[in-house]
Symmetry: C2
Amino acid sequence: MKVVESVHEADLAAVMLDLSEREAWLVFDALKKERRAGVLAQAEDALREDLLEQLTPRQLARIVQVMAPDDVVDLLALVEPEYADRVLHSVDFELAADLRELASHGPETAGGLMTTEFVAVPQGTRIGDSIKLLKQEADENSEGVGLFVVDEEQRPIGYVTDRSLLTNSIHDVVDDVMTEAKTVAVTQDQEEVANELTHYSLQEIAVVDDAGKLVGVVSFDDAQDVLEEEASEDIFKIIGTSAKLQTRLPIHSRVLARLPLQGVTVLGGLTTAYIIEQVMRKSTGGEISTGADILRFVPIVIGLAGNVGSQASTILVRGFATGEVEPDREVSVLRSEVLVGLCIGLICGLVTFLVIGAIDKGQAPFHFSLAIGIAILAAVTWAAVLGCVVPMSCRRIGIDPAVVAGPFLVAVSDVSGTGLYLAVASLMLGH
Amino acid sequence: MKVVESVHEADLAAVMLDLSEREAWLVFDALKKERRAGVLAQAEDALREDLLEQLTPRQLARIVQVMAPDDVVDLLALVEPEYADRVLHSVDFELAADLRELASHGPETAGGLMTTEFVAVPQGTRIGDSIKLLKQEADENSEGVGLFVVDEEQRPIGYVTDRSLLTNSIHDVVDDVMTEAKTVAVTQDQEEVANELTHYSLQEIAVVDDAGKLVGVVSFDDAQDVLEEEASEDIFKIIGTSAKLQTRLPIHSRVLARLPLQGVTVLGGLTTAYIIEQVMRKSTGGEISTGADILRFVPIVIGLAGNVGSQASTILVRGFATGEVEPDREVSVLRSEVLVGLCIGLICGLVTFLVIGAIDKGQAPFHFSLAIGIAILAAVTWAAVLGCVVPMSCRRIGIDPAVVAGPFLVAVSDVSGTGLYLAVASLMLGH
């Protein structure tokens, strides 16, 4: 366990994520209270949940006592309310009150992001006295980088960095060295708070209640987490999937997260097929050949292959950027992503088979709709393979995978997916 | 000018970006040297370029003298080499040497990101002496939040936060209160550096040369800029466009940035049309009706409409998230994005018209290829309108635009684009 003791908690949390639940617990169990707190604060939710399952409320309470209150609130949001209550009853009264207060704010607001551990001094305080106060609070607030100056109503009016305290005379008053305090409302959206912090390059921002009173502080590292999270969320929403850490989720969650987009695509494709049928009947006087009938479903194939390919490749590109997909995880990610593609292909092929068989007015004998369904399955699975292999190969040979993941991949999967679909369908229908 | 004086430089830079070149210069010209430095440091490149055009090398040198060296290097990268040389000749010798050293590193590396203004003390230094040193360097290094401890070879071995200096006895040595120093190589990619900083929640990270010597420091706010930049870059590359701040670029740059993707799509679509033609000829015995012939180009329409729609909507979603597209800019963004769509539609329609007319083996009389070209133009422009109006409406009625921008938008633009294309083509060909 000597090795484990010298590893940074952020690294430990990252490594434990790749261990089995039992192995992760064995490592965690061997750690001291402070190290456990560090790991829990840095871990992804999946690991946190595994570890929390093994801890009794009393054990967790002891760890929580040495954690930042905002991290504790995030942690308690993952457990049953009764369990959280029992933890709150086991920590000291003041902390419990802080935690209840913090937990009352929405998790995606400034209130959910802030910590209540900050140092504030009244106007006119001498720098020497401010430093004395910091020394008294050193145990509780060791990670701050400055302090706030407040008026009689506890409203923040200024901010003094630790560096200013160090480089100015202890006889000066804080008013002379403070900069204007930037504030956000406790109900403000966390993305706006993070943008405010980065816009002004601030280290800390004051959170105020309705009356303008200082109630908490959001620091730059919280903002970084939010920005990374929101950027990933936006990317994943745009390609039609949700949740972060896609490559670490179980297969069924990944399939479920990506299905809504495929539903919309299949619906859109079937509508297009209907429109095309009308145009064809008009132009040929009512008759449609099998060959032309197969063509009506090309838009579904193009849509699905494009979706599945770009979802897989985008998840990889983002995973490369955030360090989620390290080179040693490539094989397992490839295998699981292809499995996800296969499942989506199966479901969409089945749905198309059933819908064509049931309501479509084309040729629609049983083996026609079956052929279309199987051809869709083949094209979609193929797109999933392309969506993984292309960005992985790009990274290996030193081409930026993000450039290739978009345009190139969609075009290649469109053309090859359509070709594969036509080949399978024609073959099965004897053309 | 009283109002201007009280505004934060980051806000000033943001406002000036929306002014005309002349207006922006009038505001800038009225500022003091230190404020000019702040605005230049915070401004986007477009504004920087406008302002630099008006400044003589001597004027710029005076401003540069009070800026952080890493910001100066970014600035000088925007001007002609001769101009930069004249600036370097006008600043003091030490700064010029630092700037030349910094400029020698790749702009996307740790070396290009770091500042050379940091404070380092040897092992065994007392805290009191460290504070004295900070006071001496206060003018040059007012934004630091800690100092590095180095060994005899100038290799970083520890980091001491300002807070630790404040809360520990001045008689202690730094060795007792320092934490392990994290380091990155001067040649390391800036995205890796930023990930390192956020992974360990660091405020500053040491940059070392080949010999392991401390040569610079990258701080958290540099990391934030990099992460936001890289996330935007990845998103824009995935949707097939480049450059940041899409909505602020001139129309022709935006069209040019998005054209490569359309080229790939048109090429893929024409290939698909060729494959379909083969299957059709086989199934009908050589003959193709006009109605069926129009259908062969549906994949091009679906591909282009999907691209243009999702590019416009993704740029808006990202613009909403980073604050680039404020509500008061919506109308001008809508107008310019539709114009971009129109241009892309024109170019792609024209190319398809020419290619079909020249080499396609379908019916291909002049008015057939013209009809296809015009139908593509109509469908693509329509997709651009949808790609702007849908996310803007979503934001207004409180639905998350990112969710709708992806799946929903692509499906709607596929179906309505295909319908529009078929309608226009059929109408022009008299069906």
